[in-house]
Amino acid sequence: MTQLPGPTPKKLGLVIDLDTCVGCHACVVSCKGWNTENYGAPLSDQDAYGANPSGTFLNRVHSYEIAPKDAPAQLVHFPKSCLHCEDAPCVTVCPTGASYKRADDGIVLVNEDACIGCGLCAWACPYGAREMDMDAGVMKKCTLCVDRIYNENLPEEDREPACVRTCPANARHFGDFADPESNVSHLVAERGGIDLMAEQGTKPVNKYLPPRPKTDAQPEAEIDVLAPLLSPVATEAHGFLGWLDKTLDKLPGGAT
């Protein structure tokens, strides 16, 4: 199991749209809520009301600032959870077989009953997608909501990850990357979806859509094109009214 299953018939994962994510942390908290009640041990918190609160979360939203040379600086909100890598190093390092990649759909999971909590898989993950739960002593990670997406106790429309269901801006998309016709495959193709830290060779399934180019760089260039739109009909009230009077008269019926 610790060996990777090889190419899986389905490659389930997420597309995260960095052009749309407003950084609201909704996905972070709904993930915490769902996974505290479901798959495996609850996600615990330490020193919850004290000086140094910490806890287990499977999804976190960073924010970064980009300062282009000739345009104003930008902010990008950056959600990150397990990318369900095809060549998942977190799986192969696991000594117990607790970490595995599902042969059917490629979801990377931890079998908490077998996990010894050695932490090695978290070391092996370049993305910080695994967090040890300090209460349960086992490794936690995004399950791609495996207990939702096939769950027959949920209405069909709810069979998607909690974070996707909750994202108010619709910046998260769930689907099968093995299917070139899926919503996620289309998004990746249209928007140039990218891999995070490709040089690590993990072949992430999750893809990120980069922010679209901003349009606030060069007003001077725009104004040349748009200038005719603003050519004055008059510069003071009297002249304007004269122009308007004539314009209105020219309209069919002669009146407004």
């Binding site: 199991m1 052009d19 749309t20 407003v22 609201c24 909704a26 908290v29 915490k32 809520g33 769902w34 009640e37 918190d45 009301y49 004290g50 000086a51 806890g55 924010s63 600032e65 104003p72 600086a73 930008q74 990008v76 077989g97 999971l109 009953d113 077998a114 207990d147 096939y150 769950n151 027959e152 909690a162 909750t166 108010p168 801006a169 619709n170 679209r212 901003k214 349009t215 606030d216 007003p219 725009e222 104004i223 748009l226 739109l229 603003l230 004055p232 009909v233 008059a234 510069t235 003071e236 009230a237 009214l241 122009w243 308007l244 009077d245 314009t247 209105l248 002669g254 009146a255 407004t256």
Partner: protein, 927 residues
Amino acid sequence: MGEPKLNLSPRVSDEVRKTTCYMCACRCGINVHLKDGKVAYIEGNKDHPVNQGVLCAKGSAGIMQVTAPSRLKSPLKRVGKRGEGKFEEISWDEALKIAKDWLEPLRQDPQKLAFFTGRDQSQSFTSFWAQSFGTPNYAAHGGFCSVNMAAAGIYTMGGAFWEFGQPDWDRTKLFMLFGVAEDHDSNPIKMGLGKLKKRGAKVIGVNPIRTGYNAVADEWVGITPGTDGLFILSLVHLLLKAGKVDFEYLANFTNAACLVDCDPESDEFGLILRDDEGRELVMDRNEKRPRCYDKADIAPDLVNGWRNAGVTHKPVFHFMLERYLDEQYAPENVAEKVGISAARIRAIAAEIARVAFDEAIEIEQEWTDFRGRKHTKMTGRPVAFHSMRGISAHSNGFQTCRALHMLQLILGAVETPGGFRFKPPYPKPSTAHPKPHSKVTPGAPLDGPHLGYPQGPSDLALDEDGNPIRIDKAFSWENPLSAHGLMHTVISNAHAGDPYKVDTLFMYMANMAWNSSMNTAGTMKMLTDEDENGDYVIPKIIYSDAYSSEMVAYADLVLPDTTYLERHDCISLLDRPICEADAVADAIRWPVIEPDRDVRGFQSVLCELGAMLNLPGFVNEDGTQKYADYGDYITNHIRRPGVGPLAGFRNPDGSGAGRGDVNPDQIDAYIENGGFWIEHVPDNAAFYKPWNMDYQNWAVEKGLYDSVQPYLFTIYVEPMRRMQAAAEGLGDIQPPDHLRERLKQAMDPLPIWYAPFGEDVNDDAYPLHALTQRPMAMYHSWGSQNAWLRQIHGRNPLYVPTDVWEASGFEDGDWAKVSSPHGAITVPVAHMAALNANTVWTWNAIGKRKGAWALDDDAPESTKGFLLNHLISDLLPPKEDGMRYSNSDPVTGQAAWFDLRVRVEKVAAPEEAQPAFPALQGQGVGE
């Protein structure tokens, strides 16, 4: 070993109960999953009109709110000194008796009670209570929140941004967002932005700070705080000059064509000419004579005035041209002040013009206007705007917001496809709203609702001597159109005895000793100050909170509320319902879990207290309690014939939609329906609502109004002119002399821009603007008690722009002393480049007082977190004559949180953020 066998279809919960979120005031629908009778998981309700299944971070964290150790457990009586936080738990019987004993004598002198209800979603109920009590001193939090938005919208268009309207998310092609970080429409705005992104519509964010919505905007306009009005008027200047104006819309649907009385000798000078029935006159372009605007065959003329008795009465549009074509609004002349290049202002104006007029859209949909004309289609100008506190929380916010509405109106982009759309029960012109009432009769109810929209000086709440009747001085000459009251002035006025002293301060759901006050330290002192006899200057304070907030420490009697999952609530059409542009809707909360503490829903407590005080409306004829609890009130109260708190499932058989008799099972019907009721606006009524007879008739049928009331949008606002005319000396009701100049300027009936008052400081001493923003994952003060949310925002730095960062020699981890004309704080700093070069900012209300919210004394919220409020004065610096005005908008009294100017200096890191206050003791939840 194969893969472990997973249960892919685990049971999710035992039961799902659908109610309404209250982790903020957005009113999303939630599915509360229960396991073993306990809340297990909260998700969005997919059927709900507000959030359609999505849920924000706070909403999902609700489970930690109902288990938080900070929940109050039982009624509390103060045992220590005020502000120490020492309490003794008492029974409800005792608590109610104390309250009754304090309040009963005040019925004979009702002004001695100040009842202010903060973040209240039951204002139609609490105001009803206050009205029955007879005190004029009632309002909720709107005055320190966003009344500039509400009032500017109502006076201009009969509806405002935020809860009363929304961009046409499905059709807009250009969306411009002014001064919004999060808003109350938080999920809908995010959903809307998501839709725009999907369609590739352009988003322009106008904001000194580029985070959140502004970070995803395609274009960022990093405006200098307080100058939006000038920027907008420059856009108006360019659009007018280029004739890029929807003349047809202006002429037919706004008062731009209405004739202004231009006779300086007239009592009505500057007001709109009216016919004998008091209806506005316009020049008819065909008949060349003034006629009532609503004639079927009229052609309202924007061009020609009416020459009569030697005076030419000009249409409003003339005044607009005269003012806005002036070169003072040319981009070149505003660029420096607003911090946006002239080229960029032009580019934006051109882009607006292009989308509005070259990309106009049409919907094939017949409709009939109020003049009886039939139209075959609906023409849209797909440019939408939205704005919130970045505009409203400045002392020029009312006029700035009006300027923005004027921009929308000259484009014809309100209530047309692709533009801005009202949510029922809006639109509703200011004249259709109540006027403020303040007539006090000992032992009897007030003469009408407290709050409303004054139409002129005679509607002000002034006594015979011209003194304010209300403790907050709402509807006085200091801020005549203070439609939401001024909760932020109550404590300082009561402390100063200006206009008079009160006996009991009764507050609900507002953390006035902390984040909702300016001059925070001063406010705490006012609450604890004693007079020469050693009595508290504010003698009695009753407060209802659900949690151990900072304000709890200052109460003499604490009435512990339930959490939002443990009580009935009513999100009513009489208040701020959950409507969408295409639907009328309202909702409830109901006890999806039972409280495990000795707490009671505050509204239910008011039902009981009202009966104990024998308040009309709260007792039956035989003197017994009328409403057993709030649920009973929601079901059985009748406001107007056929209209009650809930509009849905009326009549005993549930058949009534909008109107109908009481249905004893109404709440059950709501529960059955997912916690809300919705009815869709017919297609032919979807747009042009103020003028669309199909909408008007539908609205009457649904009980939104009692008769059809089409009206014109009022670019030119007569109530303002009436106030301005008084300031010029016209009429009997006259403002005090020291306010005349200010009123003449501020009450201009056409939008203007003036520099924010708080900006009137020495630029060298205080070179920077200081702002706050709402973090999306935290709600004011009450998110910090939440174990999940406080891990995301447990402290807050002051963000400093690059030049200042470098000039001050800051490095990561440094601290700074931040000084304003009012005071100084010492806080951690952090660098941000995507920020207006003259602005610093921080997240709002992360800082907490030690000992509050059941957090440990060394919690980062109180050692590193801080409030900017310590720097914000409740009063402006003294004028030459020594007068000190409140730090508010002169029109509405809206608190001007964002007029703050500061300087920052690097200092050695202190032990903890300064100022630090003594730790609160126990607060009713400690050992």
